[in-house]
């Protein structure tokens, strides 16, 4: 018998029959996530097109105010006020209001996403839930409204691209570099309609796994699943999800290996995420802003990694550094261990937990002509503000090195320079 991919195992169980890639299934998602940015459309569709006043399963709904948190103007303030009323009317208890953090991070922290579950969200980076081996995928307002109204959704079981990771992170390369290297290899559309399935990452933290799962979307993937081996005990793996070692090889659309030993820091150059080069190939690119945050790299470990490099130093003159924690938990951890104090002392500005300027709506929007080193997942033209701003994507360590020097910088370079203790370093 052929083995099955993680997607096939999870979706078969949800569909109540054995399904293989290519089949269309209807199933009941365990959690439907709605965030503030799409909620007004979802509520409108529910009311005006579906005429649904009461959701059948409010206990399967998670609502987050994260995209514009706190509200940036009157329009968003009023939309959020209406959202709060709706949440109360519907009796939705899993409501994560302003300050709790980015939905993806929060659903994982709250274990609403956990191994074997199906989580659909009104956000493309809902692939995030694959970090804890939940089948997470993003949908638009109409699909989400229909799922809320009916308790069901349809999906096609994706084919799988299996990625085997071998070796160790070294020489300044981090999980973000792996995520960028995968997009570099697959290109922006190489994973369209597929699930990426990572193996060989049992040592990785849940946070590092989330860096990979969120960025699966940037190769066009529908899901980004990390093999649950090595997950902390807070994320128990149900027996049925454990792959049967006696079964044959599942049928993969593609399979490749990435050797971490050979990996060096990667940079996505404007204006596409797959425009990735080794940082060593990049010339000297001065920056105005360093932005550390997002669902991809805004966790405590990301802030701590940057703080370790900024400890006792100041960011370069003329550089603004924004640090926006992905969640309140991340912020609390950064307060508790002094990470935050280090970052502030180095000259960083701290924003409230949430999406911040990731989509160019508030809290550090970029002006025309500005260049940003961003730990997020997209560098599209206009993403963070002016269409004439330029966004480079890199790891938190690259962000810290860049903040110290004022140009997109390899963390290894700063570690050496530090000995010389130059101005601004």
């Amino acid at each position: 018998m052929n083995g099955r991919t993680l997607s096939e195992i999870i979706l078969s169980r949800a569909a109540g029959r054995s399904v293989a890639s290519g089949e269309v299934v209807t199933l009941e998602p365990d959690v439907v996530m709605v965030h503030d940015s799409i909620a007004p459309s979802v509520i409108k569709i529910l009311r005006e097109q579906l005429h649904v006043d009461r959701l059948p399963h409010p206990d399967r709904v998670a609502v987050a105010v994260d995209h514009v948190a706190p509200a940036a103007n009157l329009a968003t303030a009023e939309a959020q006020a209406k959202l709060r009323t709706w949440v109360a009317e519907q009796g939705i208890e899993t409501f994560f209001d302003t300050g709790r953090g980015i939905a993806h991070q929060v659903l994982i922290e709250e274990r609403l996403a956990r191994p074997g579950r199906i989580v659909i969200g009104s956000d493309s980076h809902s692939t995030a839930y694959g970090a804890v081996a939940a089948f997470g995928t993003g949908m638009g307002a109409t699909d989400i409204a229909l799922a809320l109204a009916s308790g069901r959704t349809w999906m096609r079981v994706p084919e799988t691209i299996r990625i085997d990771v071998v070796g160790q992170f070294r020489a300044g390369a981090r999980p973000k570099d792996l995520a960028l290297a995968v997009v570099r290899r697959l290109r922006a559309d190489g994973g369209t309609y597929t699930a990426l399935e990572y193996h060989g990452l049992a040592d990785l933290s849940v946070g590092a796994r989330t860096t990979l799962s969120t960025m699966a979307l940037e190769a066009g993937a529908k899901a980004g699943l990390i093999d649950p081996a090595g997950l902390p005990s807070a994320y128990p793996v149900p027996e049925w999800l454990q792959t049967d070692p006696t079964a044959g090889e599942p049928s993969y659309r593609e399979r490749f290996t990435i050797d971490l030993d050979a990996m060096r820091p990667q940079i996505a150059v404007p204006d596409t995420v797959d425009n990735v080069v080794d940082l060593s190939e990049l010339g000297r690119v001065p920056v105005d802003v360093v932005y550390l945050g997002t669902c991809t790299n805004g966790r405590h470990e990301d802030m701590a990694a940057a703080a370790a490099m900024l400890e006792g130093r100041r960011i370069a003159r003329g550089v603004r550094m924004m640090v926006v924690p992905a969640s309140r938990e991340a912020l609390q951890a950064a307060i508790a261990d002094g990470t935050l104090a280090t970052l502030v002392a180095a000259g960083a500005t701290i924003g409230p937990p949430g999406c911040g300027a990731c989509i160019g709506r508030h809290l550090g929007v970029l002006a025309a002509g500005e260049t940003c080193l961003f730990t997020g997942n997209r560098n599209f033209r206009g993403r963070m503000g002016s269409p004439d701003a330029r966004i480079y994507l890199g790891s938190p360590e690259v962000a810290a090195a860049t903040a110290l020097t004022g140009y997109v910088c390899d963390p290894n370079e700063v570690a050496i320079d530090a000995v010389m203790a130059g101005e601004g370093v």
Partner: protein, 165 residues
């Protein structure tokens, strides 16, 4: 007669409708003013109902924002042709009843005159007529109903779904 609007590869939803112009930030009534507002400002001002978009692969990549295809539908885009659509965009467009065809028509020039006949399944241009592929059953049913919501309201189920008694 309608015209062709040619776009490049990897057209993303931030280009189609930047996040700053979302109904959440402005208002839904204004949505029709914004498709391609920065990437191609003349588009929203001059596009005519029935015009078609012809693009390279990976059209609609990026976010899940449904207001991107919705804005194109609002201004009357008749169909979009691309060799490959990003998954969420494809699904959103299908749900809204905006016709997409996985076809590489990038030999057609920007501004070329075309005549789209969805019922007849053809796209006529200066040098001939292209027969449009018949969409799979699932898509046809949704498209015929005018989108997934009218479909669902009529049938109480998703296309192809077995109704459990």
């Amino acid at each position: 007669m309608a015209r062709v609007w040619r776009f490049d590869t990897d057209v993303n939803t931030d280009q189609i409708l930047p996040g700053r112009y979302a109904p959440y930030m402005t208002s839904e009534a204004e949505l029709r003013k914004y498709p391609f507002i920065e990437a191609r400002p003349e588009f929203a001002k001059t596009v005519q109902p029935g015009d078609v978009i012809v693009a390279g692969p990976n059209f609609g990549c990026g976010s899940s924002r449904e207001y991107a295809p919705q804005s194109l539908k609002m201004v009357g885009v008749g169909a979009i042709f691309s060799p490959l659509f990003a998954r969420i965009f494809y699904r959103n467009a299908l749900n809204l009843g905006l016709p997409l065809f996985e076809l590489d028509l990038t030999t057609l020039a920007d501004g070329a005159d075309v005549d789209l006949d969805l019922d007849g399944g053809t796209l006529a241009h200066a040098d001939g007529t292209i027969t449009l592929p018949t969409p799979p059953e699932f898509l046809r049913e949704v498209r015929a109903a005018g989108g997934i919501i009218p479909y669902f309201r009529e049938h109480g189920r998703f296309p192809g779904e077995e109704v459990v008694a």
